[in-house]
Symmetry: C2
Subunit: 241 residues, 2 copies
């Protein structure tokens, strides 16, 4: 079972204060880049893996999606997601992505935001999603970038005014424990190659890879995003069955 | 035109002393990983982009390839490659990958080892290779990994016994100048995403991405390869038309 860190009080409180938790999709700087990869959602049956507070599910319905199934491990997040909508076409269920089972060819689109790096066995998950999608359907997801995740002790280095992100252990895949709102948050480092090859092995075609960085307009509005020019924190992938 | 650094005397002399120059394919630690991605070469018409001393061309013929066209910008390397074989099915021509033109659907396989990072316009090159391949044929190539290339001043950092590779400017694509056998060797940094998306835009399907690291056996035989566990120096990509 994946670690359920989102249901520890200090993590949930910290996470709830993030711009992306307060403002939803528009509070996430990578959202315009994700949105650019999305197919037309009108009439689609969607599964959102790691749905959190349900921002994407509600937005997808506003775009005409036929239904959204939001899955999350966190009872806290599901409770808030459920409280935010009375839409009968949006359904939330508790699920562990590590052991997930989904009905065969039940969905026209699969989405996930910053959840898959909590999963140890991505190959299993990719195969599960592939089976659950109708032919021609897409999976679009974001993950923490392996450059960001690889180091045993991640952190910035500043030398002569230049910030850099020391990378080590890139080829050593597996558990990474970091302190982020709570001690010992458990994530799984995988090389970008491992993630892409798992998708290919599951049967997907890779349509797009984005190693996210801010636009000049975003940099102007939020100068702190300049860090994201030095090393990518997120990767966004679009794949097609 | 790409920089022709291989024809400067100090660079050519230094490069000629590398294990991969002296011992050929078996002197390159990434060769087993590349070889694992190659299709059966028997009967194939092959183009090798950046053929250097012609080690791959000669090996491909030993595997039954019908013909190999080796292309390189360096007169020095072509001269040595030509001197190494009298095989009429191996032909060497001088070519600049930046402005390359190839006949349409003339080849069954395209190969390149550590050459494409010298090319500014990879999108143009990918489209040129795609047109030159027969449908169903593959392109397999290696490049310097962008984690290795990104930093403005690349180099190791050692702290408390842990070596790391500080990454900066990852999202800032374009020229990188480093000193390697000669001053100011000009390479072009591209994100892995940019390379993969250029292939996809050209029409290729991505079949495999390898962010190369040594096997336990290689580490045992060559302990210095432990560096490659910390940060990848090479990426190997297989793509299919």
């Amino acid at each position: 079972m994946a670690q359920n860190i989102y249901d520890t009080p200090e993590f949930f409180q910290g996470y709830s204060g993030l711009a992306r938790s307060v403002h939803g999709l528009d509070g996430a700087p990578e959202w315009p880049a994700i949105r650019a990869l999305l197919p037309d959602l009108a009439g689609r049956h969607i599964v959102d893996l790691g749905c959190g507070f349900g921002w994407f599910a509600r937005w997808a319905r506003s775009q005409g999606a036929a239904s959204v199934l939001g899955l999350d491990l966190s009872e806290n997040m599901l409770a808030r997601a459920r409280a935010e909508t009375s839409d009968p076409a949006v359904r939330y269920e508790r699920a562990d992505l590590e052991t997930l089972d989904l009905p065969r060819e039940a969905f026209d689109f699969a989405y996930s935001s910053l959840a898959f790096h909590y999963v140890a066995d991505f190959g299993r998950l990719a195969a599960t999603i592939f089976r659950a999608l109708k032919p021609g359907s897409q999976l679009v997801f974001s993950i923490e970038h392996p450059i960001y995740m690889a180091p045993a002790q991640p952190g910035w280095l500043t030398k002569d005014g230049q910030r850099s992100w020391p990378v080590d252990h890139y080829a050593v895949e597996g558990e990474r424990r970091t302190d982020w709102f709570a001690k010992g948050v458990l994530k799984y480092h995988r090389r970008l190659a491992t993630t892409l090859n798992a998708l290919i092995d599951a049967g997907f075609s890779v349509r797009r890879l984005v190693e996210w960085s801010p636009t000049p307009q975003q940099l102007h509005a939020q100068p702190a995003l300049a860090d994201e020019m030095e090393r990518p924190m997120m990767a966004i992938i679009a794949a097609q069955k």
